[in-house]
């Protein structure tokens, strides 16, 4: 089947790629563009390990077709740190030891960033609801939630 030519922006950089219609955005990121930060967990939208931003909206890259990225802006974990400067959430996850194996971490960081952008002052309940689509089988969530709340406070200048 003919490949589709897709023009998109990934982490603020114009990117063009060829993909087959049945390749998901996650397949494209990992297999065509060698961006291995977004992980494939369940491939059914349950685990959130492939969370990326599409035009400012948090989505599971495993459920979006690569062709659907045409003309849209994609943000992945690779764009989160600016050079050597980690995003405050990344720094906080390190400091609070909010990860063990790290497979869920890129998705959780992207999701947490999306939350703080729309709600800079979330309650613990709001953080837990927002991250409900991101499963972690190692740390038990407590440190993750604590990190997000700490960064929210820090970013508010608290």
């Amino acid at each position: 089947m003919a490949k589709y030519h897709v023009s998109t922006s990934i982490n603020d950089e114009a990117v063009e790629f060829l993909c087959e219609p049945q390749q998901t955005l996650l397949d494209v990121l990992r297999d065509e563009l060698q961006l291995f930060g977004s992980k494939e967990g369940c491939s059914s939208g349950d685990c959130g390990a492939c969370s990326v931003m599409l035009d400012g909206r948090l989505v599971c890259a495993c459920l979006v077709l690569g062709v659907e990225a045409e003309g849209r802006a994609v943000e992945t974990i690779e764009g989160m740190a600016k050079g050597d400067q980690l995003h405050p959430l990344q720094q906080s996850f390190l400091e609070e030891a909010a990860l063990q194996c790290g497979v869920c971490t890129p998705g959780i960081l992207i999701a947490a960033k999306a939350l703080l952008e729309r709600n800079p002052n979330p309650t613990e309940t709001e953080v837990r609801y927002w991250l409900a689509g991101n499963l972690c089988r190692c740390t038990g969530y407590d440190k993750i939630v604590r990190s997000v709340l700490a960064v929210a406070e820090e970013m508010r200048g608290g």
Binding site: M1, P21, T24, G45, C60, L63, E126, R128, G133
Partner: protein, 332 residues
């Protein structure tokens, strides 16, 4: 990990173009948000389509328009947009609650109104991987000849579990359908057949392009549901109630339930409950109506009995709270 089968992707920009391609490709599937479809295609559930027709590029299908009395929602509107819309939140709180309660944020950002209304019915013997279903000799819904939920049954009991349908059914929802004969409107309840296998009453080429709702003056409506995890998951039972008070009497009552039957149930005979106050005697008659019309089978990991009880408790609770004080439900 299972791979998606090959298909062609068609991206129409008008409803007419979508219909033309639908007619040319009888073996096509419609792509809304893909949050259910892509999962099912990957699991080999349903016929592998020649083409997917992406309905997200059609402007008229992405619009929410209306006022406090009537609302029109395009079928490609995202659930997150519906839940956040100021008009919907102000005048159709039950609908906003239903949209906000679907799965998790990542799904709501992609999933569409049309997709949720036309959500494939679900069953523990159906929503499984290819090897799981193959080793179980498939089932009546797809690929097999036996229903594992009710082995002697000739009909499929797979359960409808969309959250928007009940919230719209209690607001006199109507769907706009496009097909070979042009556009037509039908009461939302008529969109559903009562068979879990062929659960929609649409012709092969037809699709839903919008849905409307009405909010009569003084009507109070809310939606709530029970599920395994409160922040994600399909409903084990979901209930929408819309009622109006006439002084200290119940003036109007409409109730719809999802997660129990193969179709979203708009409860019949609720008019007989109106005209008096809301007391325990009335609620017991209400229980009896629900018990008679809900038919939860063991299509989830929880028992049908539990889901029917859960629906009854939710329905009672919503009626009481709406009658007492315009309960707005959980918001987040």
């Amino acid at each position: 990990m299972e791979l998606l089968p090959p298909f062609e992707l068609l991206r129409p920009t008008t409803v007419e173009q979508a219909l033309a391609w639908r007619l040319e490709n009888p073996n096509s599937r419609l792509l809304g948000g893909g949050t259910d479809l892509i999962v099912n295609l990957r699991r080999g559930i349903g016929e592998a389509p020649q083409a997917l027709i992406d309905l997200n590029q059609i402007d008229e299908m992405t619009v929410i328009a209306g006022d406090g009395a009537a609302l029109r929602i395009g079928a490609s509107v995202k659930l997150a947009a519906l839940a956040a819309h100021p008009l919907v939140r102000a005048h159709y709180p039950g609908l906003a609650q239903a949209a906000a309660s679907v799965a998790a944020a990542t799904q709501r950002n992609m999933a569409t109104v049309g997709g949720n209304l036309c959500l494939d019915t679900r069953c523990i013997f159906y929503n499984q991987s290819e090897w799981w279903r193959a080793s179980n000799d498939y089932c009546l819904k797809y690929g097999g000849s036996k229903c594992h939920v009710a082995p002697k049954s000739k009909v499929c009991y797979a359960t409808f579990s969309g959250d928007l349908a009940p919230a719209l059914l209690v607001l006199e929802g109507e769907v706009e359908i496009i097909g070979r004969g042009g556009r037509r409107t039908a009461p939302l309840a008529e969109l559903y057949s009562r068979d879990g296998r062929d659960y929609l009453s649409l012709a092969r080429e037809e699709f839903v392009c919008s849905v409307t709702a009405r909010a009569a003056p003084g009507l109070r409506a809310a939606y709530d549901k029970i599920r395994v995890r409160r922040a994600i998951e399909f409903p084990l039972a979901g209930v929408a109630v819309a009622l109006a008070r006439d002084g200290d009497k119940l003036g109007a009552l409409r109730v719809a339930v999802t997660g129990t039957n193969p179709w979203p149930v708009l409860l019949e005979e609720t008019a007989a409950l109106c005209g008096g106050g809301v007391d325990e005697a009335l609620l017991q008659r209400f229980d009896a109506l629900l018990k008679a019309q809900l038919m939860a089978m063991k299509t989830t990991f929880t028992s049908g009995h539990y889901r029917r009880r859960a629906a009854t408790v939710l329905a009672r609770r919503l009626v009481r709270r709406l009658f007492d004080g315009g309960y707005m439900g959980e918001t987040r």
